[in-house]
């Protein structure tokens, strides 16, 4: 299979996670202290590298059918979580993830927290905030890179997609020094949810022993079908929702974005 869909899917998924991590790092760095924030980020990256180092070789050693069965099912569950949230946000049943307000919340909490030094870390709050943010968002990136890469037998292509996303978001964040609020995050999550669900369904069924009609070409049918059905769910939920409840401006923007 062409590596481009793999690279693009991993790129978009990782860009979403990187934007969320950037918001937390910026809040910690600007309001507290950059040195401790960078230390926290560096420790998180080392922890993530350790996870990749431990899981990567193990996951690629599994027989392909077992890998596809387990990982396919997990990926489909994971993808449905993203898709479910994106649909609920697009239809106003769930508040849109707003990086600007998330940033303000983190800034307020960071300003209120007391300052304390531990060992070589001058500001423990900035360190832990940055560490947790990067580690948690990074774990999703690692999961997507390993599962997509191992299933497609092309971890290198998945790493390229992830690295490109992280570098692009990091460079943009350094240049603008504000949360990337203009990134159409819900739209991106919607697209990634469709891709994760489609690939998960395809691999999960293959792992269970199914031979898809058309083999890999079946994905060219599954992906558009999942997209169309998801769009139909959005339309149905929008039409079922009473008009006054759809009033908030942020929600309207999100719906328009889809």
């Amino acid at each position: 299979m062409n590596a481009l869909p793999l690279i693009l899917t991993v790129f978009v998924a990782c860009a979403v996670e990187a934007v969320e991590a950037l918001t937390i790092v910026l809040a910690a760095g600007i309001t507290r202290e950059w040195r401790s924030t960078m230390q926290g980020m560096a420790f998180a990256l080392v922890a993530l590298a350790a996870v990749v180092g431990a899981l990567g070789p193990t996951i690629t050693l599994l027989p392909l059918n077992t890998l596809r069965l387990v990982v396919g099912a997990l990926l489909a569950i994971f993808g449905l979580q993203w898709l479910r949230k994106a649909i609920l946000r697009a239809t106003g049943y769930k508040a849109l993830h707003d990086e600007a307000s998330a940033y303000l919340r983190e800034v307020a909490a960071a300003k209120a927290a007391a300052r304390s030094a531990r060992g070589f870390v001058r500001d423990w709050y900035a360190f832990t905030l940055s560490f947790k943010g990067v580690l948690l968002e990074g774990l999703e990136v690692v999961f997507i890179v390993l599962t997509f890469g191992a299933n497609q037998k092309d971890v290198g292509a998945a790493v390229i997609g992830a690295a490109a996303a992280v570098v692009l978001v990091a460079v943009t964040g350094v240049l603008v020094r504000v949360p990337l609020a203009k990134v159409p995050e819900n739209w991106m999550k919607f697209a990634v949810g469709i891709m994760l669900t489609s690939f998960g369904t395809f691999w999960g069924a293959e792992g269970a022993g199914v031979s898809w009609p058309g083999n890999d070409a079946a994905l060219l049918v599954i992906v558009p079908c999942v997209a169309v059905i998801s769009a139909l769910y959005v339309m149905v939920l929008r039409s079922a929702r009473p008009a006054p409840a759809m009033a908030p401006a942020g929600v309207q923007e999100g719906v328009a974005g889809l």
Binding site: L69, G72, A73, L74, A76, I77, F78, L80, Q81, L83, R84, K85, I87, L88, T91, Y93, K94, L139, E140, F143, T197, T201, G204, A205, G207, A208, G209, V210, S211, W212, P213, A218, I222, C225, V226, I229, S230, Y233, L237, A240, R241, P242, A245
Partner: protein, 72 residues
């Protein structure tokens, strides 16, 4: 000891939230769908490629219905 138990609980809660997420029924339906597909393929020799897509679409619809039925 209490600290260890608390830590183990928080680790378990993190992985549950990471993998299963907001609606455990979606995960349960997916696992059942994969298991049923394997049974149909290996025991009944049915080419059940159509089953998992149906389960995916149905579980998403069911989960959305449950999430929106509670809210105005």
């Amino acid at each position: 000891m209490n600290t260890v138990i608390r830590w183990l609980k928080s680790v378990a809660a993190f992985w549950y939230d990471f993998i299963v997420g907001d609606d455990w029924q979606v995960a349960a339906m997916l696992v059942a769908g994969v298991a049923l597909t394997a049974i149909l393929v290996h025991a009944a020799h049915v080419s059940a490629w159509w089953l998992l897509p149906i389960v995916v679409v149905a579980s998403l619809g069911w989960s959305l219905h449950r999430a929106t039925a509670r809210k105005p």
